[in-house]
Point group: C2
Chain length 422, copies 2
């Protein structure tokens, strides 16, 4: 950025592929790209997905050029016959195909030294690019990225494979955009609240929201029984903008303090990880209905080995008895979905894994397994340490996948509250 | 459908919300909607995401009307101030807002009997709808759906909360579309192959692909070291279309038989579940680096309790020793990421959980923890029963999340091959 930014810079994201239009894959690239663009001050105007259809891709390029100065494309660059994007772009920008020698060397190197497979004609084709583009090397794959410019718009075509696209964006594309455009500042601040509905929350902060400065927008993002509140601001005077956002965020935190989980945009599992790291404590999970998902959430974060020793996933009765010491009598009398069972699961996990805390889940996730007195969605969760254990019953009422997510998040929140209070 | 379909019917999906443009949430609604539309014979032409901005929403409506006869919108209907879609639609279709009595009764019922919270003015607002729409009841939430018609296009506005949208689509919207339009037949058939690269696969099936009938399209969908191949066909003579697709699919299966995992569009975890259900066998997992993710994948499927007893997630050395009986000497000498450790983990899991099979993982997922002789991405996986155990070393080279996914899929594939061969 070599001069003061004075106007907003917009980008459009075009994702290409029939698989997006028949719903066979979920488009995660767009969300990631949007996040990264925002960080450097670029606003996303629109996201468009089109199929592997020549006319539709051309139409999308024509339409987005009218909206945005930056057009990012993913998909349609692989070695196989359903990929039509590269010749299309060559034609769109009036070029002809040539062999790009550094890409050719790179593709050969990948096949010879990494994949250790013979290189075939089809792979060599990947080194061909339009002579009117700047090639962006793909360190993580064989399809090169292509940067085009036309009438003060830039167009960047990238492969659809997420980790290849991400490497290219981080190492090359974002720095190139930041250099070429004078960008404003975008600030987002997000907090997470639990235990209050969206409409009540809105009432609670109404008076504050009504007098929010015009450059700040508030959004409600409900998710798994919790709500994230996000402040967004865009402006050209970085310090003044930051100051205004910080002031409003402080007021908001005070208004929601009784339900505040964290004043940052981090998921619940990361909140719990950070809390335990901070307190230098360890946790184990004893999971029935969540089937290892709570352990997975915790261990999906780098650094989790400092707070996590292990887990027992105890799906059937013998596993609960043998690995967690739940008494046979309890299971016979109260059943697996009961306060007594989850309480004993906590005790068993603390003993088996020698941790400071343990959290246990047992419930009926559906679609089968419901009973009159314990319908699908009935869940018991317990959390404890060597001094005490607390248990709580929940009623969820959704499908299996969502019930597992809700149970895991509720378990992590109970753990969080217990750790803070102990 | 009351007459023979003679032309393709296209739909556009418009998702609304600033959160989609800053990448705070991944749009999973579009993929689900596209899948369901396909099943009834509607092709998706485009997917567009726009922010909570009046002009951008109007522009998207205008643009998509030119492309498609069916426009489905999600998002922007909640009770809070950042939702602008409803008044916009009212204006766009030239109506005025009125109270919809059945929705009012429904909202009151939800608050009084389900949420057991007082109803506030903001919630009552949700019962207001444009007088020019047909209301589609939202059984799972408070925001009603709205069906509009204009110049032979239909427009359906739905809430962005996935399970509310899904209920509305399944119960009301899809049947309404099927009734109103004469639709062609769409057939997709997908198979999954493992252990062969995309370009080699393409060579292997080239001669067949070159003479595919024009009404059939082939797509390559690479994912986590595997490739899905999908045949798609659209036509008006259902029986003839089905016959052609079946014939080509049979030829394709034969061409890829050495690498074929399954001749259906199901994920690897479901393939393994079905295989074990079929053989009436059980499995346990002993997980270090995957941290419970393999167990989660298996238990995310309904019916998994018949094949899954439980798991031990053993992250630290003591957990591996105490719960799985890995010898202290082995851990000291070979380390946790070794053939001997994963082999003993299998033995330990078979004993602890009394299953027919067990699968074990141990590796370095990153970003930290790598060593010269065992860099990040080094993984050992073992699978076995009481007769024998096989172990295999892998080298992945990606980020933590992807390494966990790749390891879990490789473990499930090894389990699948072992079960088939034993």
């Amino acid at each position: 950025m070599n001069q003061q930014a004075t106007e907003k810079v917009y980008a459009s994201i075009i994702t290409i592929g029939d698989e997006l239009l028949i719903g066979q894959v979920v488009d995660t690239n767009s969300a990631w790209i949007a996040q990264e663009l925002n960080k450097i001050g670029v606003l996303v105007k629109r996201r468009v997905s089109v199929g592997d259809v020549h006319a539709d891709i051309v139409q999308a390029l024509d339409a987005e050029r009218k909206e945005s100065k930056i057009i990012l494309l993913t998909g349609g660059l692989g070695p196989t016959a359903d990929d039509i994007t590269k010749p299309l772009l060559c034609n769109y920008f009036g070029g002809k195909m040539i062999v790009h020698e550094p890409t050719l060397a790179h593709v050969k190197n990948i096949f010879e030294n990494i994949l250790k497979r013979p290189l075939i004609e089809r792979n060599l084709k990947q080194a061909e690019v339009p002579d009117v583009c700047t090639v962006v090397m793909n360190e993580r794959g064989t399809a090169p990225g292509m940067w085009f410019e036309k009438e003060d718009c830039v167009f960047m075509s990238m492969p659809g494979v997420p980790h290849e696209m991400k490497g290219m964006m981080t190492n090359e594309v974002l720095p190139k955009i930041a250099k070429q455009f004078t960008l404003p500042h975008i600030i987002h601040k997000t907090l997470l609240v639990a235990g209050i509905g969206e409409s009540f929350l809105a009432e609670q902060i109404k008076n504050w929201e009504e007098v929010l400065p015009a450059e700040i927008k508030l959004a409600y993002l409900p998710n798994y029984g919790m709500v994230r509140l996000r402040l967004s601001a865009i402006g050209f005077d970085k310090d003044a903008l930051q100051k205004t956002v910080d002031e409003e965020f402080t007021k908001l935190k005070l208004l929601v303090k009784d339900n505040l989980v964290v004043d940052d945009d981090v998921p619940m599992d990361k909140v719990v990880l950070n809390l335990l790291l901070d307190k230098k404590k360890t946790v184990a999970t004893a999971e029935s209905c969540t089937g290892g998902y709570v352990a997975h959430l915790l261990t999906s974060n780098a650094g989790s080995s400092a707070i996590f020793n292990g887990s027992v996933v105890a799906y059937d009765y013998p596993a609960k008895e043998n690995l967690l010491g739940v008494s046979h009598a309890t299971l016979s009398k109260d059943g697996a979905v009961s306060e007594s069972t989850v309480t004993q699961m906590v005790t068993g996990a603390l003993a088996a894994l020698k941790t400071d805390y343990a959290v246990a889940t047992s419930g009926i996730m559906g679609p089968g397994g419901g009973m009159t007195e314990k319908p699908v969605g009935t869940v018991w969760i317990a959390v404890g340490n060597n001094d005490k254990t607390v248990a709580k019953k929940f009623h969820f009422r959704f499908d299996r996948k969502r019930n597992i997510e809700l149970t895991a998040n509720a378990a992590l929140n109970m753990l969080r509250e217990f750790v803070i209070g102990s």
